[in-house]
Amino acid sequence: MNSLIRSTAKCLRTGAAVYLPRQTDGRVWSASARFLCAAADVPKDLGEMVKKDKVVVFMKGTPAQPMCGFSNAVVQILRMHGVDDYAAYNVLEDSELREGVKAFSNWPTIPQVYFSGEFVGGCDILLQMHQNGDLVEELKKLGISSALLKAEEESK
């Protein structure tokens, strides 16, 4: 309860109108969290942003030009699996987004990866999922066939 109050207070300070934190098991309580974009003064719904695309990444820089080694690692891993079509949001361009997504995900660092609207984790988690084979499985659930799987089948 205390963390709910603290989180709500934090978001009110940053201009977010509605915020409900995630449960500790990672499931989202509410579909939307709103914050105001300082640049365009247009309400942005993070809940919609993370659901609009199957794979969503909040990162520093862009997939073409990452500005952080950890963000770059996420881009490279997705590329290895043949995932090129995903939404990438550059938090360096928007400080409201940068703080908003940390509050929304209840996760203190960037990059952040979402699959079908569900928070997966950061660079470390994606890397371990890649190494232990879980990433191929999770992509399959999204209807994405990993390029590594295809490569493995072709080599047989």
Partner: protein, 150 residues
């Protein structure tokens, strides 16, 4: 031969940490006093997660921040508290333990969270990817470094 060896050994024995510049060397002080964030991270993770094995690495020198910064860390935590927990929950436990540091001076935290069994079968520390300069000119990082110094 022997006098040469002794001459080589002497400078090393008077320096407590090779990695730190000589200007920061204060022999009358406990060397850990100059790494408050690292100590705090170590203490909190030890208290909260009762790890079998813990490594806290300050990787700030690998990033575009001034020497002596405590902004980028890598932690390896081996704890039976992670048994049965998916990776994301393990990381959330670590994040929760270090909430204060993460909201003030720590800008990046790489986490490896293993059960004792996993550590036993693969006792290795992952390597961080090379920095791509994102912290340079990043006012959020500058604020965090300032918070760390105060």
């Amino acid at each position: 031969m022997l006098p040469t060896v002794l001459r080589c050994v002497r400078p090393i024995s008077t320096s407590l940490a090779l990695s730190r510049p000589v200007a920061h060397f204060r022999p009358h002080m406990d060397p850990d006093q100059s790494r408050p964030v690292e100590r705090s991270i170590t203490t909190k993770l030890t208290d909260k997660l009762k790890p079998d094995h813990l490594e806290v690495h300050n990787e700030s020198h690998m990033h575009a921040v001034p020497p002596g910064s405590e902004s980028h860390f890598r932690v390896l935590v081996v704890s039976s508290q992670f048994d049965g927990l998916p990776l994301i929950q393990r990381h959330r436990l670590v994040n929760e333990a270090l909430k204060e540091e993460l909201s003030s001076c720590v800008h990046a935290l790489a986490i490896q969270a293993k059960t004792p069994e996993q550590w036993g079968s693969n006792p290795s520390l992952a390597k961080s990817p090379p920095c791509m300069g994102g912290s340079r000119g990043d006012h959020t990082v500058e604020e965090k470094l300032k918070a760390g110094r105060e």
